[in-house]
Each structure stands twice: as structure tokens, then as C-alpha cells.
Symmetry: C2
């Protein structure tokens, strides 16, 4: 099916509209791209896009929106298999495969083997066990998954029900799922793929429990892929997104494995049933891995939000609705203040996330170096910050993609917008690696402990969090924030950070006061998540400014970036203006000041709108990655959108067969009831 | 695939947990159901569930989550065809078919024929035209759709590009799509089904434009369903939801239709090319239909949110995570204050929506009676309120379903939760029938005009909106609201409504002030949508209380309903506490008062949690409708969830074939690379 010839061109064209936006660019898009996206990501994305570009038949995304669940998995398997070949041929690295998954937005069935099964073996297996399991895993002679979550147990790892009981008679472990609630669930790469599962199970030796430990359980034959005896395993069905992954379930009926299958680096069971702990758990493993995974989430959230803002800003620049008062043409919707108000703060948040991603990774790397020197002091603050940032970035990204979808109007609802695919695949980030509501408690717990220590005059570690608490807690050094006008705030990054820190410190102090007066932890949970957000608002602003500080003061990028940082600051104030009214002492804002914040925000938004298209162009997302009819870099939206629709199988030859069947079976009997007789 | 025998029972069981919640019910669930859901809905739902229950093979929903797009459409067509037979047999009415669609959450390809094509003919066709088009349409001898939206034109109907040009030589109209941007788009029932389209096109006679008018265009043969000459038509592809519907596109290449095909009740073209307007457009048609459609959206949003809150509350009551300090068992997540805070206000909003739906329909019906008496005065306020309520209820429902999904943790992400299907199918409600952001301008425009009229001492119509504006505008009768303590507010429905009205009036007055000082309409759009929400907060609370006032003062339901109304009130204050600080004069809240609001809210939430399960039970949603493994009324969650997963085609015989293919094609070459040689 093709667009008929002879249609008049659209005047004004959407291509011209987008090109016109670009002529307004006040900075070099390439230079901005190099500054805002970290070099590692840029290099790897270019590399994998080049590698995949050479094999367009394998790596095509053209038909993904038409695929059924099984077709999606088939497509992901084809791509995954080819990437493993390229890995074995030395044409891509393991890291680059992760980037390829991100670029394609396809999380295929081999993913968890690489991201969870192998790292667990690297961290927790002894040398002997590495020979036994890690070596074949690295060669893909076995395929693994990481089976922790159970159908009835998510966040609470201590509550897992699967058992791993030592059987001295045979020198084996018996791994068992006692009830349906113990059924392993959500396990990526388990549904169809894995031959081995790293099962987290309650270790029981001589009737005594020793807590959850990882044990390697073969579950499918590597010869014919059939489930092994005692193993009930399958795919857990269709999901809101992530349908290229075979998340699975697993019930084990008293499955025996040799003693060596329990990973023994940190806990070891002898043939006499003696339990020992050969090594202390390296804090780098206990915390470092968790924090590292969260640095990756922060980075990924920047990337997926960038896809959405790119689509929404570009399409809003070329989509016209209603004539302006002074124009014969309909106005681009990006000229409407309500659209700007929904998109420009999101662009600023997106820039902040890219900058934060870089500054946070630096902070992480520095802390790991401290650890190597035997200094564990930075760990707790790093962990608290990581929890807060994982929550902040995933919340902003998921809500942001939804905003972008709604801004696109009805067309956001089409799969061809790309936005729904981004949304569904990114959505689990607010749940996994610690549900965002549960994580807020980790951050708050740290803040509360520091406030209490400071109040009691106890020593606290020196870091970005305790520095601001010391300075801004009631009784701290800086109290006279109300003296600063909104105009002054707009001109001073330091004053902006002070105000955000002051807000977080005031909320932390006030929560401690309430708890000291008997408010229970459970009663505090609503305040706790707000405190976590206020802390993260400060951390994000602070990392954003830290990253900007790496630019030369004369950089032509700087004025634009400062404007975005100020936009984000004002938006944070405006979104939480109730907090401003409630700041302690003279710092409390008046209604006039809040109104001034709103006006200042509106002015900055209108200002930034002028650079909106170049700003999203600088994220550097290729058309291949966007896979969106609305967000195309050439602005040729409607022709491609229509052409894509015409390619729907229902409109093709194969569809004609289906339509004929429907006509005979359904439409004809309705239209011509007598024909049925 | 079956759950293996011999697993231990879960202790405590989820069934027992849910049953225990029900023993706490402080009211009759049946009586509550009869009060909160309107009788028309109750009767029709019972009727269609009974009719469909007799034909479980046709009306089964068991496999919907496994279906591909084409399978979904096939399923919808099968159901739709059977419903038409039942209609012809007199076993269901047209209205009941709409209810069946809602119960099934399946919007099938025959939908727009009934909801748009036929009503347009009823309202805008002459008697002759009704004979020609309406009669066969009612007999399903032709199948229609309503083709208004174009790929480049959504909200702005005046901007449509499709033309309908009178050709005097042949006494015909030529209907034409001049460019790709004029392509009809999103048209329900067009993609595969319709034989006729009601095309909204710019009428052009003798070179003069007369605005958009409806013209009937045959597009597919009723004999063999093939597109007619000049017609390019197809399905517009996969969407975020609504995939049982064949939304389509349509390009017309100078298609000729007889003059009689232009609906001529309100505009008529003679064979000499004389354009006349035989009848004035009945305001009941112009406004009444729009308002009626919005009464239906308000009703539908109550229903779909009820499905989501039912699932989330029931599952939160049986899902356990982490041990409480005083318990050997893990706690139901519904006992955590953060979960309560996310769900209980939503239950209260849901009750408010059910009550509002009934009170608003009553208001609509009374206004229509006034119209019949020649009194057009109620129309504008009714329209403004309808726009606000459509926005409020759809925003709350869509955000609410998302909250319910997230509250269910990872399992919310499974299709078997049902929540994703509800979400995707309900999502368009924030966009269609006026995008929610565009609609806020309709409401605000009315409010602004009334404030200006009142200030100028001009007469205004007496209604619920002008009453509160008169009373509460600065300079109005009631200014001393700050004198009322939070405790007093909690005990007085009148004081609650006064405060909400005062807030809306203050925002309206302040917006008019800003505009009088030169703020443009475009610059006001952010304030405009907030004003619209504040107005709707008052209207919803007011309708809620009006509906409660229909209960006897001694009704045992009343204390529970009053508690929900107060919960909603406090939640509204807490969510908009910034507005409270900014109330004019002595009414402005202090930080202490806002803190008191928060504490009062927390207490009411904790109190209402005790009745949470009976409160959602009272929505009366059957398990058939829920179609959710998590929300089942018997609480037997995990066994059914696992069983459902086992029924995934990938785990069945047919899936074994696919898995074997994947093994040979993908897994084996990876596991045994030499086997490829």
C-alpha cells in the first residue's frame, strides 16, 4: 500500500518548520552533545550503531510495533544470538552488548546471563567454582539466570521461602519450593532460555537456618533444553513492556545438587555440615554492586527520557493547532505556554540527569578508590544518595515519558510515536532494584541518623550530605535565606543550592522532631518520601552545577546550561512552593515571593523554548534509536506516519486474506442476514 | 501445564486474609452498592452479565491477554456480531450493548456505527435522508463511522482541510483530501469495518467556504467490502490500548456523491447552488450532545477506576512484605501508611466520582428540561462544568490506575493484573472529546466572564457557579474563613464547601486581576488549568454532598460516606496546600494549620483503611469484569496467577514447537557452536 500520487504538498511543511527551529540555535549542537553525554556512552553508542548498521537485516527495528509476543522474542533471540557471535569474533565487547540492548530497546533472553549470573559467580564463587561454572558461562556453554524474587516475596529478601537444605548422607543440597508462594517469579531469562539458575534460597544445615544464599541449580538439559527432573519452569506470560524478555517462574521439588553448587566464597558448608564464613563480605560487593547498578539506572533513565523529550519537542515544533491572533497560519503547539510548561522543565530535568549521571559516577569511582585504601567512610552516604537518585531519576523519567505522550495528543497513543514502547520498557525501573517508595526509607534513615548525631554532638563523616546538614540545620550556620530575593537567587548558583539544602535540612530536622515526640516509623512514611525527594533535589542540582563547573568559564555553552539549571531550580521551587511557605524562621517565603518565582519561571521557560529543538538534538539520539514517526530528525512526520500505517500487516496481502475471512464470517452475515440462510 | 501436587498450603492463606477484612465491614455492602452506583447502571450490568453468562464460549475473556492484535480484533468481531444478533432478536437493547462493551472492556469495530454514525443521522439528517441512510443503518445494512479528525487536525475542527465542493453540472459534491495532512485519522470502525463514512468536510459552494459540514460518503462495497474508486482506506496500526478497534485512515481522491448525501437539516444546498439554513441549530444538539457525552465519560471513569481500586485494595490486603515489630508474620502491605496514603484517597475520589456521576446527570437532565421550556440560561454553566468534570475525572482515573499498578509492585506489570489493559483502554479519555488541557480553557473562560460581569455589576445567571462566586469573591459576603479551625472544618460539610469555593473564587479573581494588568491568554494557560481544577474540586465535593443528602439522616451508610467526603476534602487541601497559604486576607492558612490538615488526613486515612475491602466490594465489580489474577474476590491470588501463567501459549503444546525451533535455531548454536559446522 502506497500514498497516492498527486496530493498537494503541505504548506507550511513540517520539515521547514523543524529546519527553521534549528537556524535559531545559539550554540554548537555537537559541542553540547560532547559535553552533556559522557564520552564512554558516546563512543559505545557510535560503535554499536556502526556495527549494527552493517547488518540492517538482522538489526532492523522497522517491524517491531507489528510483532506478537512470540515474534518479539524470536526477533530478540535472533539479535541476541548474532551479538554473541560478534562477541566471540571480538567485534563487540560485553559492555557494548549492553549498550546495543539499550540502543535497540530490546532486552533479550541472554541479558540476565551477562548482567546477573556471571557477575554473581565472579563475586561469590571460589576459584574451584569459577572453573566449574564461570568458565562455561563465559563461553556460553551454560546459560544462566538469577532466581531471587518469589511470587510472594519481592523487596524482603530475608523472607524468601525456597530452602537449600544440606543432606550429609549424600553430601548434597536439596533445593525446594515448599509452597506456591515460594515460586520463583519475574526471573529474567528463565522462562525459555536458562539452563542454570542461581537460586537464592534459605540455607539450612542440621536444622539451623543461615539466611538466604546463592546456589547453582541446573534446570534444563544443555543437550535438548528439556526441564530436568523435579523442575517446573515456564514463561510467566505477557507484560506491560519488556516482552522481548522471557521472565519466568520456577518451582523446585526437592532437587538435589552437589555441595559445590553453593557459592562458597562468603559462606561455606563442609562435608561434616560445619558452616563457616571463609571471608568477610567485601563492602565493595555488598554496597558497591548495588550502587553501581544504580549509577547505571541513572544513566539509562537520562537516555530513555532523552528519547521521549526528543520526540515530543520535535513534534510539538511542527504540529500546528489553532490560529494565533496575529497569524494566518495555525501556531506550532510549542508556542503555547501550557505546552512549554510541560516540556521545558522536562528538558531541564533531562540535562540535569545527564550531568548528574556523570558527576555521580565520578563520586562512585572516587569512593571505590577510598575503599581500596581501606576507608569505608564514604559508603553509607554513597548508598543513601544512590537510593535517592535511583528514585528521583526513574520517577522523573517515567512521569516525563507520559507527559511527552500526552503532549503529542492523540498521536502519542499510536505505537508509531515510539513513546509507548519506551514507557513500557522503562516502567520497571520504578519497581526493581528497590521499589521507589521502599528506597526513600534508605535515604531518610541515613539523613535522620546524621541529624541525630549532629544534634548529640557526635562525630559524623564529612561529605556532601553532612556538610549541608551542618550548615543548614536549625541552629546551623546559615539561617537568613529569606533576605535573598528571587532576582538574587536567579543570579547565584550558590544561593540556589543553599536554598535547596536549607529546605532538605529543615525537613529532616522537622521529621526528627516529630519522631522524637513519638511519631512511629510507619506514621512517618509520607514525610520520609518527601524528605528523600528534597534531598535528591539538592543532590541533583549540586551534581548538575559540579558538572557545569568542569566547563571553561568562557564556554559558549555555559549561558545555555546555566539557564537550564536555573529553570530546574525555579521549577523545583514552584512544584514545592508549599515547602517554601513552611521554611523555618525568616526563610519562609511570602505569597508575593512565590508569585515572583512563578513569573520568573514563566520567563525562563519562554526563553528556553527558543532553543528547544537544538537542546534535544544535542542528546544525539539517532533516528534508528528513536524508531518514531513523530520524532524524526528530518521533521517529515505525516507522510512517514501514514506510510508506516500502510505497512501494517492488516493492510498488506496477508491482511487481505484475514479481512476476507472476517467479511465472510462476521460482516456479511450482519450486512446480509438472509445470505446466512 | 499444571501446578505440581504436594505443595504445602500457604500459611496464612490469602483467602483467609481477605475474608478477615470482610468480617470488619461496618455497613451492608449491598446497601452501599445500591446507593453509590446508579440504578440504571446496576440494572444493565446485571442484565448483560446474565445474557453473556449464558454463552460463555462467545463471551469468554480468559485468553484476551495472550492475543495478538488480529486475534483481539477477531475476538471483538465475534462478540460484536453476536451482540447484533441478540439485538435483532430483541434480547438486548442498543444501550445494553454499550454496557456490554464496558463490562467486557472491548471496544469493537461496530461501536462507532452505534455511538456516532446513527446519532449524527438522527440529529442532522432530514426525513428524506433518514429514510435513505438512517433506516439501513439501524438495520445494519450499511456500517458507518464518523470521520472528523485529520492526521494534522485534532482539536481545531475549523481547521479541517478535507473539502466538499458542490458541482452544479452533475448536482453532486466532490469530497477531496487535498494533502496528506487532510488524511482522516483515528476514525474508529473505519480501518476494516465501515461501508460508509460520515465525513466532516469544508463545504464549498461557488467558490465560497461555508465551514465544516457532515456528508455521507460510501467507502466500501456492501457486497464484497472492497474500497470504492478514489478511496484509500486502511487500519492505522497498533496502539497503546484500544486494539480491538479498527481505527483507520481515509484519503478521498475527488470522490463524487449525490447532493442528498450532505446532511441538510441545518444547512442545505439547492440544485442551483443556493446555500440556506433551514433550521437553527438546536442548542440541545450543539451543547446538549457534547455535555451528554461527558456525563457518560464521568460515569465510565468511575467504573474503570473502580476496577483498578478493587484490584489494588484487595491485593494490598493479602500481599505481605516485611515483619512488623510485634509480629511473627509479615504485614499486609495495606497496613503501611505509604500504601494507605496512595490508596485511600483514591477510594474516596472513586466514591466522589460515582456520586458526582449521578448528581451531574440529574443536573444535565434538569437543564435539558429547561431547554425544552425555552430557557437556555443553564447551558453555559452546564457546559463549563462538564468540561471541568471530564478533565477532573479522567485525570484522576488515569493517574489512579497507574497508582494502583505501582502499588501492586512487580505484579502490577503483569497483564494478568488487568491494570495495564484498563489503563491502555481508558487512556484516550484524557485526550478525546476535548484534550484535558484544552478543556480547562472552556471552564476558565466561563468563570472569568462571570467574575468580570459581577465586578461590573452586570446580571449573571443564577447557578451553582455564580452563587459561589458572588459569595466568595474578594468583596463578597464571606471572608473570615481563617477563623474556622481544622477541627471545625472536619465537622462541617458546609464549611468544607465554603473553603473549596473560596479557593476557586480567589483564584478566578486573581487571574482576572492579572489579565486586567495585561497578562495575555497564552501567558495565563498555566493558571487557567489550575483554576479549572480548583473549580472542579468544589463541584465534585458539592455534587458528592448533594448525593449524600439524598440518604436518610439515619442511614447507617452515612457515617462511612461522610468520612470519605472528609477524607477527599482533606486530601484536596493537602495536595494543594500552597493554595491555602495564598488565600487572601485572614483566610490564609498558617504552617501550623497546614500541619494540622496533614495530621487530620493521616488519621482519617488510617480510619478508612479498616473498611477498605468492603468499600471496594461495594463497587460491585464481578470477577468476570475484573479479569485479574490479583483482584479476585476470593483472594486466591497466587495459585490462580501461576495457573494463568502456565496457560501462556509458550508453555503449551504449541509453545513446545516454537521452543524447539528456537532451540535449534538460536540456543543450540550458542551452547554448542561446533554443532553448526
Amino acid at each position: 500500500m502506497q500514498i497516492p500520487k498527486g496530493l498537494a504538498p503541505m504548506v507550511p511543511s513540517t520539515e521547514d518548520a523543524l529546519a527553521a527551529e534549528r537556524t535559531k540555535a545559539g550554540f554548537s549542537v555537537d559541542a553540547m552533545h560532547e559535553f552533556i553525554v559522557d564520552s564512554d556512552m558516546r563512543t559505545k553508542v557510535s560503535k554499536v550503531e556502526a556495527v549494527m548498521g552493517k547488518e540492517p537485516e538482522t538489526f532492523s527495528l522497522r517491524n517491531v510495533y507489528f510483532m506478537s509476543r512470540q515474534e518479539k522474542m524470536d526477533h530478540a533471540l535472533q539479535i541476541g544470538t548474532r551479538l554473541i557471535e560478534l562477541l566471540k569474533e571480538g567485534k563487540v565487547t560485553g559492555d557494548e552488548i549492553s549498550i546495543a540492548d539499550m540502543v535497540l530497546d530490546i532486552n533479550g533472553p541472554f541479558g540476565l546471563h551477562r548482567t546477573m549470573f556471571i557477575p554473581t559467580l565472579q563475586n561469590q564463587a571460589t576459584a574451584e567454582q569459577q572453573e566449574l561454572f564461570l568458565k562455561p558461562a563465559l563461553n556460553y556453554e551454560i546459560l544462566g539466570c538469577y532466581a531471587q524474587t518469589e511470587i510472594g516475596h519481592g523487596s524482603n529478601v530475608q523472607g524468601l521461602e525456597t530452602t537449600c537444605t544440606y543432606v550429609p548422607e549424600t553430601d548434597e543440597f536439596e533445593v525446594h519450593s515448599p509452597s506456591v508462594r515460594a515460586c520463583k517469579w519475574w526471573i529474567g531469562s528463565l522462562g525459555v532460555t536458562a539452563t542454570h539458575a542461581m537460586v537464592m534460597a534459605q540455607l539450612i544445615v542440621k536444622g539451623r537456618p543461615h539466611g538466604p544464599c546463592p546456589v547453582v541449580v541446573p534446570i534444563r538439559s544443555t543437550v535438548d533444553h528439556q526441564p530436568l527432573p523435579g523442575v517446573t519452569v515456564g514463561d510467566l506470560g505477557p507484560k506491560f513492556g519488556f516482552n522481548t524478555m522471557d521472565n519466568g517462574f520456577l518451582l523446585l521439588n526437592r532437587v538435589r545438587v552437589p555441595r559445590v553448587n553453593l557459592l562458597q566464597r562468603y559462606i561455606s558448608v563442609s562435608s561434616e555440615g560445619k558452616v563457616s564464613r571463609p571471608a568477610n563480605v567485601d563492602p565493595k560487593v555488598a554496597y558497591g554492586t548495588m550502587v553501581y547498578v544504580r549509577t547505571q539506572i541513572v544513566r539509562n533513565m537520562s537516555q530513555v527520557l532523552a528519547k521521549a523529550t526528543t520526540v515530543a519537542v520535535r513534534y510539538a515544533a511542527v504540529r500546528r493547532q489553532f490560529k494565533g491572533p496575529d497569524s494566518a497560519l495555525e501556531s506550532p503547539v510549542l508556542d503555547y505556554s501550557m505546552v512549554q510548561y510541560r516540556l521545558m522543565p522536562l528538558v531541564a530535568q533531562n540535562y540535569a540527569m545527564f550531568a548528574t549521571s556523570q558527576a555521580f559516577l565520578l563520586h562512585y569511582q572516587q569512593s571505590m578508590q577510598e575503599l581500596d585504601r581501606g576507608n569505608f567512610a564514604p559508603l553509607k552516604e554513597l548508598h543513601a544518595t544512590a537510593c535517592g537518585l535511583k528514585r528521583w531519576t526513574s520517577d522523573v523519567a517515567i512521569a516525563g515519558i507520559d507527559t511527552c505522550r500526552h503532549v503529542c495528543g492523540g498521536h502519542g497513543f499510536s505505537q508509531f510515536s515510539g513513546l509507548n514502547e519506551f514507557y513500557g520498557n522503562a516502567y520497571p525501573n520504578i519497581i526493581w532494584e528497590g521499589d521507589n517508595y521502599v528506597l526513600s526509607q534508605q535515604t531518610a534513615r541515613y539523613l535522620i541518623a546524621q541529624v541525630r548525631a549532629l544534634r548529640a554532638g557526635k562525630p559524623v563523616a564529612e561529605n556532601q550530605t553532612t556538610r549541608y546538614l551542618k550548615r543548614h540545620m536549625p541552629g546551623g550556620q546559615l539561617q537568613a535565606l529569606a533576605r535573598c530575593s528571587v532576582e538574587q537567587l536567579m543570579g547565584s548558583a550558590g544561593a540556589q543550592l543553599d536554598l535547596l539544602a536549607f529546605r532538605a535540612a529543615a525537613m529532616a530536622a522537622s521529621l526528627v522532631d516529630a519522631m522524637d515526640q513519638g511519631q512511629s516509623w510507619n506514621q512517618s512514611l509520607v514525610s520520609i518520601q518527601r524528605l528523600c525527594d528534597a534531598h535528591s533535589d539538592f543532590i541533583v542540582a549540586s551534581y548538575f552545577r559540579q558538572h557545569l563547573a568542569t566547563l571553561a568559564a568562557t564556554s559558549p555553552l555555559l549561558p545555555h546550561l546555566n539557564k537550564l539549571a536555573t529553570l530546574l531550580f525555579l521549577y523545583t521551587l514552584e512544584q514545592h512552593s508549599s515547602d517554601l511557605f513552611r521554611l523555618p524562621g525568616e526563610a519562609a517565603f511570602t505569597p508575593l515571593m512565590v508569585a515572583e518565582v512563578e513569573r520568573a519561571l514563566a520567563r525562563v521557560i519562554e526563553d528556553v523554548r527558543g532553543q528547544a529543538v537544538p537542546l534535544v538534538d544535542a542528546f544525539g539520539i539517532s533516528d534508528f534509536r528513536l524508531n518514531s514517526a513523530l520524532g524524526r530528525s528530518d521533521g517529515k512526520v505525516y507522510e512517514n506516519y501514514l506510510q508506516w500505517a500502510m505497512e501494517d500487516p492488516l493492510n498488506q496481502e496477508s491482511g487481505a486474506v484475514v479481512r476476507k475471512q472476517w467479511f465472510d464470517k462476521y460482516y456479511k452475515p450482519v450486512l446480509h442476514p438472509k445470505s446466512r440462510l
